[in-house]
Symmetry: C2
Subunit: 259 residues, 2 copies
């Protein structure tokens, strides 16, 4: 089976889009499943994948509504990423991965803070067997992330380094399909990009409502932009997604032109 | 509403038990919900609470089977803890907490690795409003945990310290209802206990299948033992739970005698 990293490149090229829809609807939303399906159909020409988080998983259930969202995404030609940020002991991570893959997900997000042995190793092994992708949280988008992703110093590569630099190296060594770095910190995208040597893609959440600039993130090296609220809260989600698609594609063109 | 920390003390005294059942059934289990309900009834006299993880959440759904397990635990007089290890951005953590509390859970586990601002702060605020409890992962039970909980150095209290020592201080400052430290590392339980000054209880997973010694963990300062496979895989889960209850209660008596 083709690698997830290759499948999303194809989806991206086909639609000329670097936008991943984060389908994170509020608990106050009525008809959650219908709303989710409708949003998918509205933006499907402008995004290259969909990311689902616990906003949908908890109220709808994995084998209730979420599996239907994944099926529908697939019928629209979009890979589906589960943003579960796996951070349990290895045997539990493995159980979670098993259920998520059973529901059809193509890739999962994982937290490097549980380490490798009896932590993420069992999930990497299992995911590769299944032809599925894993994206490593490298520097999150919120303020408090500084407290740990930056100020935690990790050993293993010469003198202790800020955690996000070590996580980027791990993503490379573990042959992850992506590293996630918040668009709110474009300077960190630049640094992580250098460490990844073009072998692992950068996924960047935090554009829009969280304050990150789309153009800045792409210029700094983000390969995919994960966007939720700027699309979901727009009066016309289809148009909002299309406008973001165009802006990101143009910005990426300028980056290619510049290098 | 009474604090979660006080409610679990009452449940523990009433049953003379320090054992929390981790209801983590394998994906291969048939009739998962019935099996879960049956196990609860089998061990209800020997445990002081139940902890539910994604083993049940993913296949059954929160408002499918899991809510029924929580209801049943409550009817048996047992508080229910959701082991979700919250580690997302604050707004998402808040949404998750909202759904879990709606399903009836009394407490949640959280990961300190997302930091405070826009990380765990919104969940601590919300949980206190709701009279719910939060347990902070302080040192996990698996091997790979060393890579990060110990070898990550965190600033904030004089010179950078191993992460678990800083997390114990955070648990105290944040007025958490518990700190989770793996029974596989009793020497860390001792250190964390000293930092917590008796104001925050220690919850300890990893006894039995993972290799931790129950007596050693209690002697070192664990207030509650989270046990899954040693009970679930026993030929007679009720007897296994009762035997663990008795051993832990005795060990705690010796600790009280010693101090």
């Amino acid at each position: 089976m083709e690698k997830f990293a290759d499948r999303i490149v194809k989806s991206s090229k086909k639609r000329r889009s670097k936008i991943i829809l984060a389908l994170d609807l509020n608990p106050s939303t009525s008809n959650l499943l219908d709303k989710g399906l409708k949003l998918l159909s509205q933006v499907s020409q402008s995004v290259c994948a969909v990311k689902i988080n616990r906003h949908m998983l908890l109220p709808l259930g994995l084998f209730g509504g979420v599996e239907r969202l994944v099926d529908y995404a697939h019928r629209l030609g979009l890979p589906a990423i589960m943003d579960c940020k796996l951070n349990d002991i290895g045997s539990t991570n493995r159980v979670m991965a098993e259920w998520f893959f059973k529901a059809g997900f193509d890739a999962l997000t994982v937290s490097p803070y549980v380490g490798w042995e009896e932590g993420l190793e069992p999930v990497f092994r299992f995911s590769k067997e299944q032809g599925k992708g894993l994206l490593v949280l490298t520097y999150m988008s919120h303020k408090g992330a500084e407290q740990t992703f930056e100020r935690a110093l990790l050993a293993g590569y010469g003198k202790p380094k800020p955690a996000y630099k070590v996580f980027a190296r791990w993503a490379l060594e573990w042959k992850a399909d992506g590293a996630i770095v918040g668009a709110t910190r474009p300077e960190k995208i630049v640094e992580v990009k250098r460490i990844l040597k073009g072998e692992v893609s950068i996924y960047s959440p935090g554009v829009g409502v969280q304050g990150g600039s789309l153009e800045e993130a792409v210029k700094s090296g983000a390969d995919y932009l994960i966007v939720g609220r700027s699309i979901l809260r727009a009066e016309n989600p289809g148009e909002a997604a299309e406008s973001l698609r165009e802006r990101a594609w143009k910005a990426a063109g300028r980056r290619r032109g510049a290098t």
